[in-house]
């Protein structure tokens, strides 16, 4: 069945290629960090068939820009620019510098396209490779996770997680609970860091390239403001090109959903059926088990205390049972707080000052027990309102019936599980050029097709990214991104 589908798809693409017309726009689908061109295959294929779009996935077909990351993003972008030129030149309808050439970049791919834009602007190039850019899940102002990896915080958190998950089973001399595919709970932390994050970000050997340093939130690559304007950091570069930011807004728990998508799309789990709650279910099971074991050893400890009154030897077992209970609790706590921890690592947390006014008359509420006008009454007024005695203006204001409070609270910024919304969204584009991909994590952003065939929070029938791209192509007459259906 799959072969037949592939044949049909192939024939469709062939027939589409035959029907290519001069008005077809070139689009370069650029992959992200340590991805390859195939990451965009789904939508490149679909929109080549459906829209007047001659899509290519140029980067990765020649010498891939991943090989140049050791010299930083600028070097990678130079390489990618060459790939784009080659691809557009060898299109069925060659058009290297067409005014309608479009670049679509996932993650670092969006930064690469913006870097090319900056280079061409600085060099005064009039015939640009691309004249409009769509960034998808791109860390436009940096990625906090790169800072956390570089300063060692990520490693500490992962180590702590592994130890916490192992503590309960070790103290009880029990094997680790098995979650799925032979993976035990104590490996969950390691699996997330090694298999998901390190592979996604390209740290198989645990080293940092210059590009990884460039991608830090505070890097000079993004933030430099030197005397030579041509060397200005990308965050400060004012582009004249039409640009759109598509940002992933994953549902909680974002980190386990990100892991689910990666493991089911890239690591072959769940029979390769894309799911973003595959790990979530198992983590919930693990939390339930750790909680149960904590309760069990607590109960045994309490029972041992009671039993000790008839058999004093039982008291000897009390400390060990309470210790075991606390060790299982460690694992539960790590899982329970893991999303908050992850948000701290990705620097998707911030503070927000909340100011609110409530109906209140403290004099009436708290000072009525004293005789009006007496020293005790004024002392109470001073305490409640901060008024000195006989300051009737202050008193009037205090009894006006409202009081304003403010408090600072910790908030989590929305994110795609890896890059926070504040970095995914370009801050110098019109509001109408910002598109939110709801329920989509960093790995999903290049392909949400499978989500459409699943019930539950995974998909609900919506190919979210395809719908967003269709909305982009349907923009009004005269808009750069409008791309007609065939």
């Amino acid at each position: 069945m799959k072969i037949i589908k592939n044949i049909i798809l192939f024939l469709s693409i062939v027939s589409c290629a035959i029907s290519l017309k001069a008005q077809d726009r070139n689009s370069a689908w650029v992959h992200g960090l340590f991805e390859d061109g195939d990451i965009w295959q789904a939508y490149d294929d679909i929109f080549r068939i459906e829209r007047e779009m001659n899509g290519t996935r140029p980067v990765g077909t020649n010498v891939d820009y991943n090989n140049f990351l050791g010299n930083g993003i600028e070097a990678a972008a130079n390489n990618a620019a060459g790939d784009i030129t080659t691809a557009f030149a060898t299109n069925p309808i060659p058009s290297v510098n067409s005014s309608r050439n479009l670049g679509i970049g996932h993650s670092l791919g969006g930064i690469v396209l913006r870097e090319i834009d900056q280079d061409e602007t600085n060099s005064g190039t009039t015939n640009r490779r691309v004249n409009g850019i769509i960034t998808v899940g791109s860390p436009n102002y940096g990625a906090g996770i790169m800072n956390s990896i570089a300063n060692g915080n990520a490693n500490l958190v992962i180590q702590n997680g592994c130890q916490s998950l192992a503590a309960g089973p070790s103290s009880s001399l029990l094997p680790y609970p098995i979650l799925f595919n032979g993976i035990a709970t104590n490996q969950l932390c390691d699996l997330f860091m090694d298999d998901v994050i390190e592979n996604m970000l390209g740290f198989p050997q645990g080293w940092l390239t210059t590009a990884h340093t460039d991608l830090q939130l505070t890097s000079s690559y993004f933030n430099d403001v030197p005397s030579n304007p041509n060397d200005i950091g990308l965050s400060h570069f004012n582009s004249s090109l039409p640009r759109i930011s598509v940002w992933g807004n994953e549902n909680s728990p974002t980190h386990w959903r990100l892991a689910s998508s990666f493991l089911t799309m890239d690591a072959g789990l769940n029979n390769d059926v894309h799911s973003d709650d595959f790990v979530v279910h198992r983590v919930n099971q693990a939390m339930g088990f750790y909680h149960l074991m904590h309760q069990y050893y607590t109960a045994v400890g309490i029972f041992s205390i009671g039993l000790g009154f008839t058999n004093p030897y039982s008291w000897l077992a009390v400390p060990s049972n309470f210790y075991r209970a606390s060790q299982w609790r460690r694992g539960y706590n790590w899982l329970y707080h893991s999303e908050t921890t992850w948000n701290a690592l990705t620097i998707c947390q911030g503070t927000y000052t909340l100011t609110y006014t409530i109906a209140d008359n403290p004099v009436q509420n708290y000072c009525n027990g004293y005789m009006f006008g007496t020293q005790q009454w004024w002392n109470c007024v001073s305490h409640q309102c901060g008024c000195v005695p006989y300051d009737y203006t202050c008193l009037t204001n205090c009894t006006s019936g409202t009081r304003t409070y403010s408090e600072t609270v910790m908030v989590n910024h929305p994110s795609d599980g890896l890059v926070c919304s504040y970095s995914q969204i370009l801050d110098d584009i019109p509001q109408n050029n910002i598109y939110m991909a709801e329920g989509v994590n960093h790995r999903d952003e290049t392909d949400t097709r499978d989500m459409q065939n699943q019930a539950g929070p995974n998909g609900q029938g919506a190919d979210v990214m395809r719908d967003i791209f269709n909305d982009l192509w349907n923009r009004p007459l005269g808009d750069f991104f409008k791309t007609e259906p065939r």
Binding site: K5, S12, S15, C16, A22, Q23, I46, I49, E50, R51, E52, S99, R100, N131, G132, S240, P242, P430, Q431, N432, N433, M436, E438, R449, Q452, N453, Q454, A455, G456, P457, G459, Q460, G461, A462, D463, D467, N470, D471, N474, R475, P476, L477, G478, D479, F480, E484, P485, R486
Partner: protein, 414 residues
């Protein structure tokens, strides 16, 4: 004997209690209805399977029956006319051109008597809605906008026109419902001051046809390109019957890079449009601007309606705005949902579904009070979203909404 009577009475009480509670709407603490018992439910797919589906944003109703999108679970997509009383199929259709992905996208359609015209790109169809048969099916030479309007049996469409190898525009065409034969209906008066890098010299972006004094008139929005992909928008009124402009080149809003415009909406000698994040009101017969209001975001997906002296607009910032239709002054704000179904209206209540909150809302038009905030998960186990496909059958006072799995029919509020 006495024991049997007690058992019987208890059974009746239990059954009665159960029946009553089952049919009662569920309300939250604020008195807003969050779940209802549907009149009927029908699967949109093959027996319990779950599959991706087409999206119908247009309000497709014929003979008081909705036309919904379905699949057969094997990569085949259909539109089905279903009986409003039972949810059962009357007919189904999928006579689309092959070679594409198969999804049927009906964002706009024009229905007159039994015939429906819709198009997507170069693909255009006329379907007989009484029997689900294809009347016309053709590929145009150029891609056509999916927007379509009409008067009687005259269909008006928007199509790209190539002037030469370097320049193109978009004209309005009138077309024959049955044969599809097209003629240029309206050519905008363009300044030709600037040609976009892609060759666009400007063109009609939207229009709406209506009759007045036996003449067919077209309220036309057209655009001209500017540098850096900015767009300037103009309004005109064209007498199609007499082939003359009543007025044209009335400037609408400040040029911007994102000027998505809605259909012109005609109401009591005024014409209303949303352009980007603005809503404007002009005198229908002179073009003079009466008011213009700006909002945080645009109205691209859900749009606005003008009913009973009010403009009700569902903004992408998820706020529903109600404005005085005469002055543009704000009357109230209420719960909106951004990217959702278009707004439907019946007996003083505005309905819409989908969007970011992914619920079904019913909002009282006079006050902005939320009457319904139906949650998908309370109506269908495991469901989290509603599709933007939404139907309001006025004469039967029924609402038909869709999750990605099923269609549900409810009684309208009034």
């Amino acid at each position: 004997m006495q024991k049997s009577i007690i058992v019987l009475l208890l059974s009746i009480i239990v059954i009665t209690q159960y029946s009553c509670s089952k049919d009662e709407p569920i309300t939250n603490d604020d008195g807003v209805i969050i779940s209802l018992q549907p009149n009927w439910v029908r699967s949109l797919h093959k027996e319990g399977t779950f599959f991706s589906n087409s999206i119908i944003r247009e309000h497709l109703i014929h003979d008081g029956n909705p036309i919904v999108s379905t699949t057969d679970g094997e990569n085949n997509y259909y539109i089905n006319k279903i009986d409003i009383n039972t949810g059962e199929d009357i007919w189904r259709w999928n006579d689309v051109f092959s070679g594409f992905t198969g999804l049927i996208d009906i964002s706009y359609a024009y229905i007159h008597d039994d015939l429906m015209w819709y198009q997507f790109g170069t693909r255009s169809y006329t379907i007989d809605l009484s029997n689900g048969m294809t009347v016309r099916k053709e590929r145009f030479d150029e891609s056509f906008d999916s927007r379509v309007t009409g008067v009687g049996d005259k269909v008006f469409v928007l199509g790209r026109t190539r002037l030469d190898s370097n320049r193109y525009t978009q004209y309005g065409y009138d077309a024959d419902f049955i044969t599809g034969e097209k003629r240029v209906a309206v050519i905008p008066n363009l300044s030709l001051d600037y040609i976009a890098d892609d060759g666009l010299i400007g063109g009609v972006s939207n229009y709406f046809a209506f009759t007045e004094n036996n003449d067919t008139l077209l309220s036309v929005v057209y655009v001209e390109p500017m540098e850096n992909w900015y767009i300037d928008s103009y309004l005109g009124l064209y007498n199609f019957s007499k082939k003359e402009w009543i007025y044209d080149r009335v400037s609408l809003v400040t040029p911007s890079q994102s000027g998505a415009s809605s259909f012109p909406t005609i109401y009591e000698n005024k014409v209303y449009m949303s352009l980007g994040n603005k809503i404007v009101c002009h005198n229908l017969h002179t073009g003079e601007q009466i008011w213009k209001e700006q909002f945080p975001l645009d109205f691209q997906f859900s749009g606005f309606i003008v009913k009973e002296g009010r403009v009700i607009a569902n903004c992408e910032n998820q706020i529903l705005y109600c404005l005085d239709a005469d002055t543009g002054s704000e009357l109230w704000t209420g719960e909106g949902s951004g990217t959702s179904s278009r707004l439907r209206y019946l007996n003083g209540v505005v309905y819409f579904s989908g969007g970011a909150p992914s619920k079904i809302f019913a909002i009282e038009a006079a006050t902005g009070k939320t009457l319904w905030r139906l949650e998908a998960g309370l109506i269908e186990e495991g469901a989290e979203r509603f599709k933007p496909d939404f139907y309001l059958i006025e004469d039967k006072k029924k609402v038909v909404v869709c999750t990605f799995k099923n269609a549900y029919c409810f009684d309208a509020i009034r």
